[in-house]
């Protein structure tokens, strides 16, 4: 992302090392890493910057810093088992192609969806993202 935005991985990690915790955890730029892993592959010192960014993201989430759109994605998985759930247009498209209207996933198996939901509950993931069960 460094080539298209002001995001600088070195700056992020330096600030984290210097202990600017609140600034680092609340910085929206933390979420601009696409996790392409190029830095991790190339780092001659084995720093694994992508893994560091993911660890900082986890800390940010635990202290309540998460983006609404990501909460939305998490909510789709909790509600339907898919980050991108089926919609009416694609149900029709599937049928027109001769595929089953619903894929053989949680979309076709209510018990499987409940299993996914129960696992997420046991992990406390619903509370973490503030998901409201219907």
């Amino acid at each position: 992302m460094g080539r298209r935005t002001a995001f600088r991985t070195r700056q992020l990690i330096r600030r984290a090392l210097l202990g600017f915790k609140d600034e680092v955890l609340s910085d929206k730029d933390l979420w601009l890493c696409t996790t392409c892993y190029t830095c991790l592959e190339r780092c001659p010192r084995g720093v694994d910057p992508t893994d560091v960014i993911l660890a900082i993201r986890t800390m940010a989430v635990k202290s309540g810093h998460m983006l609404d759109r990501h909460k939305g994605v998490a909510g789709f998985v909790l509600g339907q088992g898919h980050a991108i759930p089926i919609d009416e247009a694609n149900r029709k498209l599937r049928v027109s192609m001769g595929l089953k209207e619903f894929p053989p996933t949680t979309h076709s198996h209510k018990d499987a969806l409940e299993e996914v939901q129960q696992i997420a509950k046991k992990m406390g993931f619903d509370k973490l993202v503030g998901y409201e069960w219907k």
Binding site: C36, E41, G98, T106
Partner: protein
């Protein structure tokens, strides 16, 4: 050759044409696909791996256990799914503490992660198990096209969890494209990310599209007939993304984007309808006229 077919989210719910292509092409390759009944999202690495690794591992382990129960290796057509399932499978095989805590949860649902299967990506199965030579014999309709090959990131990286090919200058996907009669054309920053991963497409759509736009411009500059990707999420980013880019930035590239399985299907002589090609966002007509 029999695989547990992991669909993920983008393919069945946004690009069923890719699923259709795979179901049509597989028998000709000698691949039998077994559906993974009740599988969920892999789960999405951008959000789940970032937010909470234990949840990422547990939900992935549930998916892995579905294939384990069939005693089959998993095959995917999406590098995001490949990344999550390949990495979690490796982590849980190697780290007994993590495996035990995941299994403590799965046991409540009469499931278990045993660690006795592998996770594969379709293109890597083609290259390593079927082989370019055999593929050559299946070509009925060579494709006289210049192709911009896009590997994407998570098919290759991080290499500590997968040994698919060089992460800097891989060649296998170019070979898989060229054996179909096409020419893989070099272009600037070929290994650049599509810009969608890591949760960026969800949270910062404009920035994400801006990254995709740079690569599309580089591809336009060398006059490629189309782009071929092995990843459903990269495919979404470049195909539907071109419509979004046109709306947001006023630039129209009109570069057809094909998932590798769709491209392979064309060379094997399947009608475009059998490969879901008319349902791509960017029209593939220009390449159909050339072949």
């Amino acid at each position: 050759m029999k695989y547990a077919f992991f669909l993920g989210c983008v393919i069945p719910n946004r690009y069923p044409g890719i699923e259709l292509a795979m179901r049509n092409v597989a028998p000709k390759l000698g691949i039998e696909l077994i559906d993974m009944e009740g599988a969920s999202c892999c789960p999405a690495p951008g959000v789940f791996k970032s937010f909470d690794q234990p949840t990422w591992l547990a939900l992935a382990a549930r998916n892995l256990s579905i294939a384990e129960a069939e005693d089959l290796d998993i095959m995917t057509l999406c590098s995001g799914c490949f990344g999550t399932l390949k990495e979690t499978n490796t982590i849980l095989k190697e780290d007994s503490a993590k495996r035990e805590s995941v299994n403590a949860i799965l046991h409540e649902f009469k499931k278990e992660f045993q660690g006795n299967i592998d996770v594969r990506h379709f293109v890597e199965v083609l290259y390593n198990n079927i082989g370019v030579e055999k593929l050559k014999n299946l070509v009925k309709k060579p494709l006289p096209l210049t192709v911009a090959v896009h590997y994407g990131c998570h098919l290759l990286k991080p290499t500590k969890y997968r040994k698919v090919g060089s992460s800097e200058r891989p060649k296998f996907l170019d070979e898989l494209v060229e054996v179909l009669g096409a020419k893989s054309i070099p272009y600037r920053d070929k290994m650049m990310c599509c810009g969608a991963g890591g949760g960026v497409k969800a949270s910062s759509p404009d920035t994400s599209l801006d990254v995709a736009k740079e690569k599309l411009q580089n591809i336009k500059n060398v006059g490629a007939d189309c782009m071929v990707t092995p990843c459903a999420f990269c495919h979404l980013q470049y195909d539907r993304g071109q419509i979004d880019i046109q709306n947001k930035f006023g630039v129209a590239f009109n570069i057809p984007v094909l998932h590798y399985v769709q491209f392979l299907g064309l060379a094997m002589g399947f009608e475009p309808e059998k490969l879901g090609l008319p349902n791509n966002a960017v029209s593939v007509e220009p390449i159909l006229r050339k072949i």
